[in-house]
């Protein structure tokens, strides 16, 4: 994915967060660093390929930090950066509003 910059920052973030797993990945990193295999367990259904690609993309965008511990067997940890935490905070606000919205609409329908 190219680092395209448009006139609209909203469009830019959304392009980065668009993938099926990306926001969810941030979501599961909120409680501290996790390993590759931990994340595979958290996101049932994700393939190794997508987990790798999405982590790399989020890392390139500065939302996730990747740390390799040179041991055998190898250990790699992924953590939210400060920017990642801020973005996730806003995503959660978005999710909360959405949940409220749905609840109200459901109540209306009843």
């Amino acid at each position: 994915m190219k680092d395209v910059v448009t006139a609209c920052p909203v469009e830019d973030v959304m392009r980065v967060l668009r993938g099926r797993w990306r926001s969810l990945l941030l979501y599961y990193l909120v409680n501290g660093p996790k390993r590759f295999s931990d994340l595979q367990r958290d996101l049932p259904g994700i393939s190794q390929r997508m987990l790798t690609l999405d982590l790399r993309e989020l890392e390139a965008e500065g939302l996730v930090a990747r740390t390799v511990y040179p041991e055998a067997p190898p250990r790699v940890e992924y953590a939210l950066t400060d920017d990642g935490e801020r973005i996730l905070g806003l995503l959660n606000a978005l999710g909360d509003h959405w949940a409220d919205m749905r609840a109200r609409r459901k109540a209306m329908a009843a």
Copy 2:
């Protein structure tokens, strides 16, 4: 697109806003109702097909209201709902943070 509801509201909103044009569409509706042809001008490159599909989806999700004025030639206006405005507000906050982030990263690189 199915109205799937997962355990994570963030995932749910993101699924709705994921499309290439959706967030941008909300963005351009913030200054009051617009007609189909207005939106085509605002979003250079969007096809009629996608504009129609995305507007319908946003309408189904309660973010956009569609009003038909039975005239000849037909006139149709699209406007943000209250929920749509709230969601857009949060998207803009997200965009602002993103812009800040990029500015800081650019300054660091220099």
